[in-house]
């Protein structure tokens, strides 16, 4: 039988006082949902490398799909602090489940809302918000990861259709997605977004197996072999790399909060363990080396929470820059990875087992530190922002 989820969120600087009552209600509701629906089953699904598809409906109900999308399109109409808190709590459960929600909300619903036609918004957004439709996002290619502008996927005009060719890789949700928002070059070499639907001839989504990370999330490829897509599926209101980068801003923002959730779970687990585990006739939490680890963890988590909160305020006011979001994403993932590694050590051998969530978080975070802009790329974004000099190439 699954162990009871005893998580208690650290709030060392009383950051709750910076939240509204509605923020806290949203956060606590998602926390309760994760304790009830995710924590009891997630370890088993991760061990079996299976996506718990039955959680999709609940994720829709709890507001994890497109919380900032206006209510008229089925979204939550909430601010960015609420969105961040939802991602924090879902990733506190598992980064893979948060990845599914991030992709759906930030990388599929958001571009359809921000760049799509009214017809596209009405056709797709309500079903994506409820989870009736699941989506995925095709940007990364086998030979173009950190350099998406070099993408090879392209389409050619064919009457009122376009013919799409190419392949995308490392795509969360691909194996079961009903639609894919795909970024491809037109005949002029300009990047456009296009909505590809499952069932279109020549469109396949082979699953990527043998991952040691995000095991409870389905990852795959998108393969386009002369896929005829109606022109009405092209997102009309954006052109160029700024299209996908706008989506990544949304998703990276969610990751900044999400990764902090994983860090909080690792810290909370290690703190509780340190008070219960007896060695040399006393709890290991009484030893200086263990206290050093815990003190450093809570310091970094508190700094990360404050940074996220401030970024959330800026984002809600539409003032957060892409570089500020990069900094938060990079910081949160680094804090989470370091917390997971130190917490794992505190639990000794128990830390490597599925009895505790730490090793699962740690392995998940190896993906989170890589996707949506690698750890190094985010340094270059900050570097370019403060110097005005481009070090990318």
């Amino acid at each position: 039988m699954a162990k009871t989820d005893l998580f208690e969120a650290p709030d060392y600087y009383l950051i709750d006082e910076l939240l509204t009552e509605e923020h806290k209600l949203v956060r606590n509701s998602v926390r309760d949902w994760v304790k009830k629906e995710v924590s009891p089953i997630i370890e088993d699904y991760a061990q079996r490398a299976e996506f718990p598809k039955h959680l999709v409906k609940g994720l829709g109900e709890i507001g994890a799909f497109g919380p900032t999308i206006p209510v008229q399109y089925g979204g939550g109409g909430m601010d960015y602090i609420s969105y961040g808190l939802i991602m924090q709590e879902v990733e506190r459960g598992d980064s893979g489940i948060r990845s599914t929600a991030s992709v759906q909300g930030s990388l599929v619903m958001w571009p359809i809302y921000a760049y799509g036609s009214e017809a596209q918004r009405n056709k797709y957004l309500p079903k994506l918000a409820s989870g009736e439709f699941m989506g995925c996002f095709g940007l990364t290619e086998p030979n173009h990861g950190s350099n998406p502008s070099g993408m090879l996927t392209n389409y050619k005009e064919d009457g009122d259709h376009v013919i799409l060719n190419g392949a995308k890789m490392w795509i969360s949700n691909a194996p079961f997605a009903d639609i894919a928002v795909v970024w491809a070059k037109n005949e002029e070499g300009k990047i456009k977004g296009i909505i590809v639907e499952r069932g279109m001839e020549g469109f396949t989504t082979p699953e990527t197996h043998n991952k040691w990370s995000l095991r409870a999330s389905a990852t795959g490829e998108l393969v386009f072999d002369n896929v005829r897509v109606p022109k009405e599926n092209i997102l009309p209101n954006v052109e160029g790399l700024k299209g996908p980068l706008g989506c990544l801003n949304q998703a990276r923002y969610g990751i900044a909060w999400g990764a902090m959730g994983a860090a909080m779970d690792c810290y909370d687990t290690a703190l509780r363990y340190s008070k219960e585990r007896i060695q040399f006739d006393r709890p290991i939490g009484g030893f200086q080396l263990q206290q050093k680890k815990l003190a450093e963890m809570i310091t970094e988590i508190t700094k990360g929470q404050l940074l996220n909160w401030r970024l959330g305020v800026l984002k809600s006011e539409d003032r957060a820059t892409a570089a500020q979001i990069s900094m938060a994403k990079r910081n949160s993932v680094e804090v989470a990875l370091n917390t997971a590694r130190e917490a794992r050590q505190m639990l000794g051998g128990m830390g490597i087992t599925g009895e505790y969530p730490i090793m699962r978080h740690m392995m998940n975070l190896e993906s989170v530190v890589t996707y949506e802009g690698t750890h190094d790329i985010h340094l270059l974004i900050t570097g370019m922002d403060v110097t005005g000099l481009n070090a990318f190439k």
């Binding site: 009552e21 509605e22 209600l25 509701s29 309760d32 949902w33 507001g63 919380p67 939550g76 909430m78």
Partner: protein, 245 residues
């Protein structure tokens, strides 16, 4: 069908309890307050009974303005509207009298309460409320269904169950198992923003009790291990030291 659900605002279950003013007051500093978990069960069943346009659910709380987040949560879970009686809930009699004053003019068919609040665990309000209203009172119900104006209720009793049929209006307190507590969803949270929350002033009620002092339970002592081959020593320790036999 109109259902009134009485809700309490209580400290979270993980609260570290301490006291102020010479141990005469609960120290609320840094304490998170939540919707009483037992009341969540009553509320969940009330929502189920009225689903599909079969009625309305009003939640009522005796509390000062700081209880409103808890009331909003009840609205987010699915109550249609809310009433807050603007007074600190000093004891069970005070709360029951205040609730009765509002309930008697509201035309409610059923008044539902959780079995008890998790702070003082008095379990007195439901019965007192029924007595003041002169309504039938059924405590610790395990199941409630409706046919017309009659409710079929199961109560757990020693060694079996009691099946009761009762006509509205009546008061019940719910035991665990009547319904699964509901987690607010996004739509509920959004709609709770605009649901009516009426604030009414309290009526004068005589004070029948006051707190003299609070004290913490005695800290748990150390475990003393006695070898299995020395039962006499164990009996002696239980008798002389633990004083339990």
């Amino acid at each position: 069908m109109k259902i009134l659900v009485c809700i309490s605002n209580v400290p979270d279950t993980t609260t570290k309890v301490s006291f102020n003013n010479n141990n005469t007051e609960f120290n609320t500093n840094g304490v998170q307050f939540i919707l009483n978990p037992y009341d969540e069960i009553a509320l969940a069943r009330a929502i189920e009974l009225t689903e599909g346009g079969k009625g309305t659910v009003t939640v009522i709380n005796v509390g000062l303005v700081d209880t409103e987040p808890t009331i909003r949560k009840a609205l987010a879970i699915g109550a249609d509207d809310a009433i807050r009686i603007n007074a600190a809930p000093s004891d069970s009699y005070f709360v029951a009298k205040q609730l009765a004053e509002v309930a008697k003019s509201g035309g409610y068919d059923i008044i539902m309460c959780g079995r008890e609040s998790i702070d003082y665990n008095g379990a007195q309000v439901p019965s007192m409320l029924a007595e003041v209203l002169d309504y039938p009172s059924i405590s610790l119900i395990k199941k409630i269904e409706f046919t017309g104006n009659e409710a079929q209720i199961d109560r757990e009793i020693e060694g079996g169950k009691e099946v009761i049929t009762v006509s509205t209006p009546f008061v019940v307190s719910t035991a665990e198992g009547v319904a699964e507590p509901k987690i607010p969803n996004m739509r509920g949270i959004m709609s709770a923003r605009t649901k009516p929350l009426q604030v009414v002033e309290p009526v004068a009620v005589e004070t029948l009790s006051s707190f003299t002092s609070f004290e913490m339970p005695t800290p748990r002592g150390n475990v003393k291990l006695i070898s299995a081959d020395e039962p006499a020593k164990l009996v002696e320790a239980l008798n002389a030291e633990a004083k339990v036999i």
